[in-house]
Amino acid sequence: MGAIRDYFGNISSALTTAAKGMRITWRYFKHEPPITIQYPRERVEPPPSYRGLHILQQDKCIDCHLCAKACPVDCIEIEAIHHGRTLEWKQFSIDYKKCIFCEFCIPVCPVDCIHMTSEYELATEDPDGMVEDLLTWTGLRPEDQRAVEAAVNKKKGVAAPATIESAKGAPEPGSAEDKAAKIAAIKARLKKGSA
């Protein structure tokens, strides 16, 4: 008797559970709108805390190498020549072939000059194109150049040249415009890399 009950029970349970499942999928088909974010057309911005590509406030950076030491994967390479307090920048690059976006380089910075943006698109055809130089300028800036020359000349006993002009027009380091300009620079570089 049990076997017969099982037999008919199987038929009824197979049909009813299939029907219930089909009711759910029908509801989804008919009533639930797709939740897809159509990526290149629409995009959801990651939260402000997102750990994306780095930016550097080069004005602030003091070439202390603490971020490079904190990095678990040794992906930061920094090179700068010290002229007293002035820095002649050669390189501040992050190798995104290694970077794991762990954020350990951020809290160690004594001058709070390295940050992570919400940018993340980094696809490229070039195997060497994934090393990003965060510097917005290399070498010395003109006013620093003059200051260094002045210092050198002073040591030599030559009279100082004209007064140093402070850089005008450049956005205040750390301000919102500065950040936006740097993100734009990163984007431009990425486009160049992929083309």
Binding site: P34, I35, T36, I37, Q38, Y39, P40, R43, P46, P72, V73, D74, D95, Y96, K97, K98, C99, I100, F101, Y120, E121, L122, A123, T124, E125, D126, P127, G129, M130, S194
Partner: protein, 177 residues
């Protein structure tokens, strides 16, 4: 078809055929169901409803390498796996594309220094078309990579002689002379 590849003159009708083929190929990139590590989960997220790779016609993951056009290598490849990755790539039929997904596959990633058995980038094993670094890359970043691959595939010339190829042939011709 093989003999005709890149051998016809680079003129309008041939170009039109090429661009039609390129359109077909780029609109129908079937990836292989292939997951290795962490990035595979983000790759699954790309197939899933929120990002839906099928919008680009690429949401038909084929389990067999014969039928797939794209192998996304999502995760660290080590010495034991590298043999298999190479074999899978060899089993795929032309045209085939490779996306290296994640830092490990692009160039070693976090395992570059102390990883005694990891391959430092899958481009040491198989030729890679697009690199998508990140650890793991966001699904959007992978889609960005796939969009770049689509551009690249659409640019490819099938029958028309490529400028570079022609130059090579001229060079060879000159050398033979």
């Amino acid at each position: 078809m093989g003999v005709l590849n890149n051998s016809l003159p680079d003129i309008g009708p041939v170009r039109a055929v090429d661009s039609a083929i390129g359109w077909g190929r780029k609109s129908s990139i079937w990836p292989m169901t292939f997951g290795i590590a962490c990035c595979a989960i983000e790759m699954m997220a790309v197939y899933a409803a929120t990002f839906d790779l099928d919008r680009f016609g690429a949401g038909v993951p084929r389990a067999t390498p014969r039928q797939s056009d794209l192998i996304i290598v999502p995760g660290t490849v080590n010495a034991k796996m590298a043999v298999r990755v190479k074999r899978l790539y060899d089993q795929m039929s032309e045209p085939r594309y490779v996306i290296a997904m994640g830092a490990c596959v692009c160039g070693g990633g976090p395992y570059v220094k102390w990883g005694y058995n990891t391959v430092k980038g899958v481009h040491k094993i198989i030729p890679v078309d697009i690199f998508v670094p990140g650890c793991p890359p966001r699904p959007e970043a992978l889609m960005d990579g796939i969009l770049k691959l689509r551009e690249k595939v659409g640019r490819n010339q099938v029958f028309a002689r490529q400028a570079q190829t022609a130059a090579d042939m001229d060079g060879r011709y000159a050398a033979a002379k």
